[in-house]
């Protein structure tokens, strides 16, 4: 591994200043489960590493009127355990549980998964259907943006120099709301998604988001519109599943071909929507 200076800021402001001062030569370390692989392979060799896990408060997960706030240093395992008490957020718990292994989830963070901006990130489709917000702190000031507006492309976010994601907030959802995250990978566990699909339904709307089939996670807007007009039932679920594939623009890669991904999107959408309307697949 290359040589670097290691920083352990005690406040977010201190971390922001470090990041702004060193610019491209600084990287944030949270769980480190992606970062250290890139270091070891020499993909990136920043001169400064800023560990944000020692900043008081970032390791906090809590519920308030605003919803559930997941601090940037909270591990995936802690997040999943916290969510166990909230059936309406199971789509996120399932997405987290599908990430890598127990060892990785003990270190990795939801905020880190978001900030890496991988099109295959499992937690992102779940956060998108839950309308999550990203809290950003920076030298120039703070901002809070919808997760759908956070990504600029594969591996790219809208964060500017000196900015840090301090937490992810999931707004309140009715206890009767329900969601599901389905993932197809080459092996059942410890693998990246060929397609990841999150669906969430409450009394008003059904939302569907897709991972690994576009440069960023995308919403299945045509399918959502159909369900908004006609409601979710066993018949509309099948029609909406077909429309879901229209929102996917996948590439062929080592994990699956474009054609396979398109077929998978429809299958996973059908399974998810039927599960949400309580119907069995015929």
């Amino acid at each position: 591994m290359h040589k670097f200076e290691y920083h352990e800021p005690k406040t977010i402001s201190e971390a922001s200043v470090l990041l702004q001062t060193y610019g491209d030569q600084a990287k944030i370390l949270a769980g480190g489960t992606d970062l250290l692989i890139r270091f070891r392979r020499g993909v990136i060799e920043p001169q400064h590493v800023v560990n944000i896990k020692k900043i008081p408060g970032l390791d906090r997960i809590a519920i308030s009127q605003e919803g559930i706030e997941i601090g940037a240093a909270v591990s995936m395992v802690e997040t999943e355990k916290f969510l166990a008490g909230f059936p309406q957020y199971q789509v996120l718990a399932q997405a987290i549980h599908s990430v890598a292994s127990c060892q990785i989830r003990n270190r990795a963070t939801v905020a880190g998964n978001v900030c890496n901006a991988s099109p295959a990130a499992d937690t992102v489709p779940a956060l998108v259907v839950l309308d999550a917000k990203v809290n950003i702190r920076g030298v120039q000031g703070d901002r809070c943006i919808a997760i759908e507006n956070f990504f600029a492309g594969p591996g790219k976010t809208v964060l500017v120099s000196g900015e840090i994601v301090s937490s992810i907030v999931i707004p309140p959802a009715a206890e009767t709301a329900a969601g599901v995250y389905l993932k197809q990978s080459r092996r059942r566990l410890v693998d990246l998604a060929i397609v990841g699909l999150a669906a969430f339904s409450d009394a008003q709307t059904v939302k569907i988001a897709l991972g690994s089939v576009a440069p960023t996670v995308v919403r299945a807007q045509a399918a959502e519109q159909l369900l908004a007009q006609q409601g979710l039932n066993r018949t509309t679920a099948l029609a909406a599943a077909k429309l879901t594939a229209m929102s996917a623009v996948p590439i062929s890669d080592i994990r699956g071909s474009r054609e396979y991904r398109l077929a998978l999107v429809e299958v996973l959408a059908q399974r998810a929507l039927l599960a949400l309307c309580g119907g069995e697949e015929e």
Binding site: M1, E5, Y6, R40
Partner: protein, 158 residues
């Protein structure tokens, strides 16, 4: 330039004071500075689990953690299991069920068994399989590994 850092961590019940360069992993410090070679380097990408140790009771890949981050933590490696000349019950179960062949994955597998039963004393077979899904056995001896862990769990059931 790189500034090394003084850290203190408890390893297998003993306080260790070390000065480490920030670009070294926990795995390399355990193996090279503390001569605890039970945790193994494998894929070094978080996929094989050969480097698994418990940090504050939780299993992690020690090849994916910087040693400087470990200041103030409590670490258990395979060398910390059992007593003087005596095996831990999980180690004994691995022996009894022939749950090791080449032995490379064994320290990680045994620690995963310990971690699982600490949080779930009576797991199902599927729960065991899922829990050790981040640990590869290159001899493919999974059946006996699962049996060994379930045997210890069965004793918990009484």
């Amino acid at each position: 330039m790189m500034t090394s850092k003084a850290i203190t961590m408890k390893v297998n019940g003993r306080d260790e004071r070390l000065t480490v360069d920030p670009n070294r992993t926990l795995l390399s410090v355990l193996r090279e500075d503390l001569e605890l070679t039970g945790a193994k380097p494998g894929c070094e990408a978080g996929e094989c689990g050969a480097c698994t140790v418990l940090v504050d009771g939780r299993p992690v890949n020690s090849c994916m953690i910087l040693a400087v981050e470990m200041d103030g933590t409590d670490i258990l490696t395979i060398e910390g299991l059992g007593g003087e000349g005596a095996l831990d019950e999980m180690q004994q179960a691995f022996v009894d069920h022939f749950a090791l062949q080449c032995g490379y994955c064994t320290p990680g597998m045994i620690l995963m068994g310990k971690a699982l039963l600490a949080e779930n004393p009576c797991p199902s077979e599927d729960e065991v399989k899922e829990f050790i899904s981040g640990n590869l056995c290159r001899c493919t001896g999974y059946e006996n590994i699962v049996r060994a862990i379930l045997a210890v769990a069965a004793r918990n059931r009484g």
